[in-house]
């Protein structure tokens, strides 16, 4: 069976990249972030999701196997 950590990690890494990039491009757009109390929530959640995604990927079986093969 597949290791569910792999798709979870992959999906949140993709989300993380999309949202982080979007957050970066909207820096200084004060009108847009008025509702989120002047916080660039995209940038913050994007980075958090990317970290979460990468951690999940790192512990998933396919990546572990790949790292082991590379060492050998």
């Amino acid at each position: 069976m597949i290791d569910i950590r792999f798709p979870i990690g992959l999906m949140f890494s993709v989300f993380g990249i999309i949202i982080t990039v979007y957050g970066l491009t909207t820096i200084g757009n004060d009108a847009m972030y008025l509702r989120s109390l002047n916080i660039n929530v995209n940038l913050i959640s994007g980075i958090c999701m990317l970290i979460f995604g990468l951690v999940m990927l790192f512990f998933s079986d396919p990546v572990k196997k790949w790292l082991k093969n590379r060492k050998a």
Binding site: L10, S36, L37
Partner: protein, 576 residues
């Protein structure tokens, strides 16, 4: 109040990425679906942590999420009774005392356990009621999703129903129960991560927990309650009148903490199926315990923002409002939607909406994957085409039936969704009725597991009578001020309850008591048919005690259960 969202391209992009992953998981699992057991039981190969998160995710449907945020606004922290007293004890009991029999009996479903423990007719009654109930529930949640998408995103009702049904069908058809479970885990994470920004922003806006308490005091006092009623759980349950729930502590403890929660968590196949798919007996016993850990903290994610919404509603400078229904009453279920709209900019907004979509799908897929199992094993294999003895042929045949029943289940759900859109009241009524089968079922399964003397005739009568009493009680009572027969009183009113919740509690208590008494009495009057050997693995006193000695102490279910219990007690004391 305008409920419409304007979604940007970025929001749709998030949604599309999510759907690609959902379908991709189904696709990746397709090659493992070689026989009926792989398709309908996930081959009993799911690791404990995956089963545990799926276990809780099935319960975290969108109707639950939306309803609980709305209840937070209406009842405050008292809503956490549905999580702490109303879920954790039952989950602990399921894990420590019941799961070993469900799993160890090799039954493939809860109805099949009834067949092994009691007899065919008890199984038949339960299987048919369960099959009808799950399809209805799936239809109702599909209807709710379509209405939501229409109101919020302006999507066409028919397109929403067909599209959501098609996605759920695609991934459950491709990968069966494994696909449903894996997607539930994915959904679990996206629900948490998608809603978290909203929760944090609301709390920041109202000034944290202390700001919330301060903001609530004048509002709550104006309603005639003590200032901290909305931020405490047990403090004002000395009498029903002192809290907005309208129920005193003994009603909460007996109704919610015992009858309703044990009926739901310990016997509902939709939930138990996740643990039955676990890779080993010990993994199955750990499943509800692993699920209990996030369960205890979900109130902070969805109930607390609802409470904060009460402060926002009363602060004109925030510009926060709820949509109103035809009679001018606020629609509380929309609280979470309006909070998402209030705080989230494009980007994370797409994530929040995707989280809601995900929770709808997880509820629907859960229903469909439980339905096809009960249909294939408990109805089709028992009454229409029994096993032939040719393993290879049977396996192929039941895999096909499992797949066809998945399609059938989704199609009938779509039908149910349209019936709900035409006759919403009838569906509410049916759902109330079917929710009544849980309490008697718990009585019967509990006696079956822990009292070897209980017999098949008794179990069957107990189930039926419990159901009849629940119906009778519902027909003869109604909540105060009810103007519709859906809420009860369709046989004439002999008692009025202050709130609907109290009526539900008492319906369950009467049904459970009747069922227990009748099952005990008839068991004593009838002959025990099953021999001791036949009851091995099904009944507590006939089964060898569990031996977890080979497992290191901190991985034993008892240790995990202790941690869960301690956290739950600490939370209860903190928010007393």
């Amino acid at each position: 109040m305008d409920t419409k969202f304007v979604l940007g391209g970025i929001d749709y992009l998030i949604m599309i990425v999510y759907f690609i992953f959902v379908l991709g998981i189904g696709w990746a699992l397709k090659k493992y679906m070689k026989n009926a057991s792989a398709f309908l039981e996930a081959g009993r190969s799911i690791p404990a942590w995956v089963a545990g998160l799926a276990f809780i995710s099935t319960n975290l449907g969108a109707l639950e999420v939306m309803g609980m945020t709305g209840s937070g606004l209406k009842y405050g922290m008292l809503t956490t009774h549905f999580y702490w007293i109303g879920a954790v004890p039952a989950m602990l009991f399921l894990a420590l005392f019941m799961m070993r029999f469900y799993y160890g009996s090799k039954a493939r479903s809860v109805p099949e356990y009834l067949k092994l423990r009691f007899d065919e007719k008890t199984r038949g009654l339960n299987a048919i009621l369960f099959a009808v109930m799950t399809i209805l529930a799936s239809g109702i949640s599909m209807y709710a999703l379509a209405i939501l998408l229409e109101n919020v995103l302006g999507w066409n009702f028919n397109v929403s129903i067909l599209a959501s049904a098609a996605i759920v069908l695609a991934y459950t058809y491709l990968g069966g129960l494994s696909s449903a479970i894996y997607n539930e885990v994915l959904q679990f994470f996206i629900i948490i991560i998608g809603l978290l920004p909203m929760t944090l922003l609301v709390m920041k806006d109202v000034g944290g927990w202390s700001g919330l308490q301060g903001g609530l005091a004048p509002i709550v006092e104006a309603r005639g309650f003590a200032a901290d009623t909305w931020t405490t759980t047990w403090k004002y349950t000395g009498s029903g009148g002192a809290n907005p729930l309208g129920v005193a502590w003994y009603g909460i403890a007996a109704g919610l903490g015992f009858v309703l929660s044990f009926g739901y968590w310990c016997t509902n196949f939709l939930i138990v199926q996740r643990a039955m798919a676990a890779e080993s007996n010990i993994a199955a016993r750990k499943t509800p315990l692993i699920g209990a850990i996030p369960k205890m903290f979900i109130p902070f994610l969805i109930i607390v923002p609802g409470i904060a919404a009460l402060v926002l509603l009363n602060d004109p400078t925030k510009g926060f409002a709820l949509p109103l229904n035809e009679t001018g009453q606020p629609i509380y279920d929309y609280t979470i939607i309006m909070l998402l709209k209030q705080y989230l900019p494009a980007g994370v907004l797409g994530l929040g909406i995707t989280a809601l979509l995900a929770s709808f799908m997880s509820g629907m897929a859960g229903n469909v994957s439980a339905f096809n199992t009960v249909w294939t094993y408990d109805i089709y294999q028992s009454y229409i085409r029994p096993l032939t003895g040719n393993h290879e042929l049977d396996d192929k045949h039941y895999l096909k039936v499992g797949k066809i029943s998945t399609v059938f289940g989704v199609v009938v759900s779509i039908g149910a969704a349209y019936i709900a859109s035409k006759f919403g009241n009838i569906m509410d009524f049916l759902q109330t009725i079917f929710s009544m089968i849980n309490a008697p079922l718990f009585a019967v399964i509990f006696l079956g597991m822990f009292w070897k003397r209980s017999t098949g005739h008794a179990a069957f009568t107990g189930l039926l009578a419990g159901f009849a009493v629940a119906l009778l009680h519902h027909g003869l009572t109604q909540p105060m001020g009810s103007d519709t027969l859906v809420k009860g009183g369709w046989l004439g009113v002999i008692h009025e309850y202050p709130v609907e919740m109290a009526q539900n509690f008492w319906t369950a208590i009467y049904a459970f008591t009747t069922s227990t008494l009748l099952t005990v009495i008839i068991s004593l009057l009838t002959k025990r048919v099953k021999s001791d050997a036949e009851l091995d693995g099904l009944v507590y006193s006939m089964t060898a005690p569990i031996n977890d000695d080979e497992v290191i102490w901190y991985q034993r279910p008892w240790f995990l259960a202790l941690i869960v219990a301690v956290i739950c007690i600490i939370l209860t004391i903190l928010f007393w």
